[in-house]
Each structure stands twice: as structure tokens, then as C-alpha cells.
Symmetry: C2
Subunit: 205 residues, 2 copies
């Protein structure tokens, strides 16, 4: 298997972090330079079908994109530590929180950066109102996640799951838009510090 | 089990459609009136933890939100017809396409409607630039899905999967923003007609 990766984008980092939590080291990692447009080259598109990173080449017949599809597939091969749930009930709770992290934090924070950071003007027709609207959406979600993290050590379970990886990376990426978690959200700050202290947080950063 | 549903929103329809494909009829369906704010009432929030529909009350201890988490959980109980994949490889492909349908179509089309339809001004501080930007994103994705549907009868597999349900409902909801698939996208139009002709497409519509 081969992982097509990029150090500059948030979604490939999800896979690197996930692999590091599981100690997966036997997958070849190939860097794709987004600013050189390598993700739009014919050879890459013939494999992936879409100009996206990350992508996992499973074999000659199948390459998949989408960070969460890649991580769930890897979990089927490398089961421990479990990150997606051990039974249907736990899987449902983790998927619910992963989607909340994606829809309420990761997507709006990514859009905030894409529509406001000067370095990304080459990749996006930037609209200031879109950046501001998304910043507002993410800000509104902080209270919700802070409350959750006052009740639970991690977002979806008593242990780190894929939901935590999605959320932690979104806050890290949002530094590019000068988005910071205000100090009043003590539970979020506590959780974020714990997440960034994990060895896997440094994978490819 | 009980399903908290709303006829007016697109995401609850995913669960109704999914249940109809599987012939699930023994789950009590309770209507939540979003315009009366029933999803924000204390009793509802105590169960779901979030002001969202749909929600599935699994038992006294667990209610989950998020349409796809609910559908995947239901698939663990009602396995046929399979909608999420029969093995890790197929599950990965279906999840990849479901996420593409969600990120490239469902989310931008939902944002287009929420930020432009007069009836939704009560639920959203509408920003015209956000509506236009999302309309543009969804329009750009049509070619991608049309090409895919020229190669495959359905979006993710040779059969209907959850990816098709997500995409088909997003186009139906987008009629509220006068968003239509242009006739040049023949494969998309062919697929959409087939999807809307399925008996399950009428579930609760």
C-alpha cells in the first residue's frame, strides 16, 4: 500500500496521526505538492479519480481518497488501539461525534482559512463574507464541545478516537486564520493540550 | 426504538428513505416541529444532546443524532439490502463516495437554501455571498458526478447505496433554491430519475 500525502493540508494529517496512534509504519508515504499542482496531474487523477489528498493506494485496482474512509479501512487491518468503535452502539456514538467535529469545527475552520489566508488565494476565489460566516459558525460550536469535554475526557469516548483527531487538527490548522480557543473554554483547552502532547500529534508536522 | 423526525428538513429524509429501502416498519416515528422550536426544548435536548433531527432513541440510555450514524447503526440490525458495504474494501469505496456526495453536493446545496430561501430567514442569519459561493461549489461538482455516473449505474457501486440517497435528497432539497441539474449532464439526469422512481423515495414526502 502507498499513502499519497501532503504536509501542508489538514486532512492528510488525520491519516498520519491515525497511523501513528496505531504504530503503522510499513506503508510507503509519497508527498504530493499541492502548490505545484501534482494532485491535478493525469497520472495521479487516473489513480484517485479526484484531485484530493490524502489517497491510499490499496493495490493496482483500487485507490481511495477521503481521510475518514482511509482511516476506517486501515482500522480493518490494524485493529488496535480501536478508534472507530468496538460494537455497533459504540460505533454509532463515535460516528456521531466525528460528524459533529467535522461539520461544526473542521469544515467551517477550513473554509475560514481558505477564504482568508493570503497564501491560499492561489487555490481559492476568496470571499471575505464566507470566511467571516464560517468563523462565526465555528465560534458558536466551541461552547457545545466545551460542555461535552466537561463530561467526558475525550470527545466521543473514555479514550481517544477518530473524533478527537478530526477536532484537534482543525484547531491547529485554524491558527492560520488566527483562530484561537478563548481561555474561558477550560475543558476544550485541557483536552487540546492533552491531544497535542500525544506523540502521534507530531507525525509529519 | 424511536425515530425523531421532521418532514421539512433534508437529513431526516435520509433515514426515512434508508428505512424504506430495508423495509423497516417497526420503529415509532415522532414528528419534531422545527419551526415551533421543539428541537430546542429541554426534554428533547436532554435525550439528544444537540438541537438536531433526526435522532434515534436506541434505549433509555442512548439516543444518537447524525443521519449517517443512525443509518449505519440500523444496518447492523437490518443487514439487507446492504447499503454501507459488505467488506472493508467495499465499505471504503462507499464511504469515499458518500463523503464526496456530502461535502461536494449536500452541504453546499443545504447552505445555498439556508442562506437564500425567505422561509428559512427565521432559522439563519442569511448572507447572500454565502449562498452564492455554495451554489457555485455545488455547480462545479456536477461534472464530476456526471462523469462517475457515466461509468457506474449508481454513485458508489453497481447497486443503490447510502451515497445515492445522500446525493438524491440534496438535489431534491435544492429545488427550494431553484437549483436544477442542467440537461447537458445526461448521466446525472438518468440516475436522478431512477432514484426518484424508487418506492423508497416517497417515504414521508
Amino acid at each position: 500500500m502507498k499513502l499519497y500525502d501532503s504536509r501542508r493540508a489538514p486532512n492528510p494529517r488525520r491519516v498520519r496521526w491515525f497511523m501513528a496512534e496505531k504504530g503503522i509504519e510499513n506503508i510507503e508515504v509519497i508527498d504530493v505538492d499541492l502548490f505545484k499542482g501534482e494532485h491535478r496531474e493525469a497520472g495521479y487523477l487516473a489513480k484517485t479519480g479526484a484531485a484530493n489528498v490524502p489517497a491510499l493506494e490499496i493495490d493496482d485496482d483500487l485507490t481511495i481518497t477521503e481521510s475518514l474512509a482511509i482511516c476506517r479501512y486501515l482500522e480493518s487491518l490494524y485493529s488496535e488501539p480501536n478508534m472507530f468503535g468496538r460494537d455497533p452502539r459504540e460505533t454509532a456514538v463515535i460516528e456521531m461525534w466525528t460528524r459533529r467535529a467535522e461539520m461544526l469545527l473542521a469544515t467551517p475552520l477550513m473554509m475560514t482559512v481558505r477564504h482568508s489566508h493570503p497564501a491560499l488565494a492561489a487555490l481559492e476565489t476568496q470571499v471575505p463574507e464566507v470566511a467571516e460566516n464560517n468563523r462565526g459558525s465555528a465560534t458558536k460550536a466551541l461552547k457545545f464541545f466545551d460542555r461535552r469535554l466537561g463530561e467526558s475526557p475525550f470527545i466521543a469516548a473514555e479514550r481517544v478516537t477518530i473524533a478527537d483527531i478530526v477536532a484537534a487538527i482543525s484547531f491547529d490548522f485554524a491558527k492560520m486564520a488566527r483562530f484561537a480557543i478563548p481561555e474561558e473554554f477550560e475543558n476544550l483547552i485541557r483536552w487540546r493540550t492533552e491531544m497535542l502532547d500525544r506523540p502521534a500529534a507530531k507525525a509529519g508536522v
